[in-house]
Symmetry: C2
Subunit: 221 residues, 2 copies
C-alpha cells in the first residue's frame, strides 16, 4: 500500500474517516439525475467500446467524505510539486438511498473520487488549506452484469470525458477486496454509512476497525 | 480576521476555494427534502421562540467545498488540543438550483458548515488527514422577511438540535458583508459557483480576487 498502488486506491485513503454516529435517515432529497426531457439518466453511461463516460452531475450527488494529502501511487505524478491534494468522495443518490435502507450497494452504484489541489493563503484566509483546481476524477462502479469482479475502477484524469476500466491486475482491485469493510467499499471510513452497515449486519465478518491515534493540534488559533 | 472573529467566520475560511471552471449545468438531481407523507419540508424550520432547528438532512444537500485546519475564533475552543478540523460546506438543493440558474440566492437559502476533527493513521492509511467525528455544525440562512440583515448565522455546536440567531454585533455579519463576493456569501471560494456568478454578473462590483500562492508539495508520495 505504498508505491505502485493502483490509482483507485487513492480512493481507499481519500475515503477514510473514523466511524461515529450521526446518520441522517429521514430525508431522501437526492433524486436520479434527470435529462432535459425529464427521462431518468443512469448513474453510469458507456461508449459502444465499453468506456465509461465521466459522470456529468457527480457534484450534485451525495457527498461522503474528504481527505487531504493522501494522494500517492500513480496519481502522485499528477500532484508532484503541487500543494497537497484534497480528495472528495461522492455517490449517486439512488445507490445512497438503497444503502441507507439496506446496508448494501445495488448494481449501478457509482462512487466518484474528485482530487483537487489546495492552497493556504488567499483573500482573508491566513492559515489552513482550502480547495482549488481539479487534479483528477476517478470512479468505482458496481455492476455485476458488466464486470466480472462486480466492481470496476476508472481514471478520467483532470479533464477526460471517458475512461476504460482499469485492468483486473490493477492493485486497486486486490486492495479493495482485502481491506474494505463492506462489499469492496471503504464504508469503515464514511462516518454516516458505517453505523448503517453495522445495523444491517453487512460489515465483512473478518473486518476489524483500528481507531486512529489523535494528532497534535495544528492550524491557526 | 484573527482572534475574536465570529464563529460563523469559520465558514468564511472553510468555504475558500480558488475559482476554476467545471460547473455542472445539466442535472438537477437535488430535490427539496420530503417528509414521510411526501409533503415538501422547508430548508429551515424554527421554534415558536425563533430558534432555528438543526437541519436534519444537510448531509444529503449539495456539497460546496471543504477546508482543513482553518477553524479559529470561538470555534477554536472546541478544537483546542484536537487534530486540525475539516470544514465541510453544504447548501439546500432548491437554493443551489436557483443559484445555478440565476447567480443569486433565494430566501430560505441555508448553508451548513459541518466541522469535523481529523486523524492521520488508521487501518491502511499512513499519511495525510481524513475526517473523523463532528466538532460543530453551523448555519448561514437568507430570509429577508425574517432577518433584518437578510442573512443570519447560527451555531448548533456538536449535537445541539436548535440555536438562536447570533446577535447582529457578531463579527461574522460585518465580515461577510466586507469580504464576500456575492450577497454576503463567499462564492469566490466555491469552485463550481463563482463562474456562474460571473456569467450572471452577480459578483459585487468592488470584489477583487487575490489568487493563492502555491504551497510546497506535502503528503505521502
Amino acid at each position: 500500500m505504498t508505491r505502485g498502488t493502483g490509482a483507485l486506491c487513492v480512493g481507499v485513503l481519500a475515503w477514510m474517516t473514523v466511524v461515529e454516529s450521526g446518520v441522517l435517515l429521514r430525508a431522501q432529497p437526492g433524486q436520479t439525475p434527470q435529462s432535459p426531457a425529464g427521462a431518468p439518466s443512469p448513474s453510469a453511461a458507456y461508449t459502444s467500446g465499453g468506456e465509461m463516460l465521466r459522470p456529468e452531475a457527480y457534484r450534485e450527488w451525495i457527498y461522503l467524505s474528504s481527505g487531504l494529502g493522501m494522494v500517492y501511487g500513480p496519481a502522485a505524478a499528477a500532484v508532484a510539486g503541487r500543494p497537497p491534494s484534497f480528495t472528495n468522495v461522492f455517490v449517486n443518490p439512488a445507490a445512497h438511498r438503497q444503502f441507507m435502507a439496506t446496508g448494501t450497494w445495488p448494481d449501478e452504484t457509482v462512487m466518484v473520487l474528485e482530487i483537487r489541489s489546495s492552497a493556504s493563503e488567499a483573500s482573508i484566509n491566513r492559515g489552513g488549506s482550502f480547495q482549488t483546481d481539479v487534479v483528477a476524477v476517478e470512479a468505482a462502479v458496481k455492476d455485476r452484469k458488466r464486470f466480472a469482479d462486480g466492481w470496476a475502477y476508472f481514471n478520467f484524469g483532470a479533464r477526460g470525458d471517458r475512461a476504460a476500466p482499469l485492468p483486473p491486475t490493477a492493485s486497486c482491485y486486490s486492495c479493495h477486496k482485502a481491506n474494505a469493510a463492506v462489499d469492496q467499499t471503504f464504508v469503515q471510513f464514511y462516518p454516516t454509512l458505517m453505523p448503517v452497515a453495522q445495523r444491517f449486519g453487512t460489515v465483512r465478518a473478518d473486518y476489524q476497525h483500528q481507531p486512529a491515534p489523535a494528532k497534535p493540534a495544528e492550524g491557526p488559533r
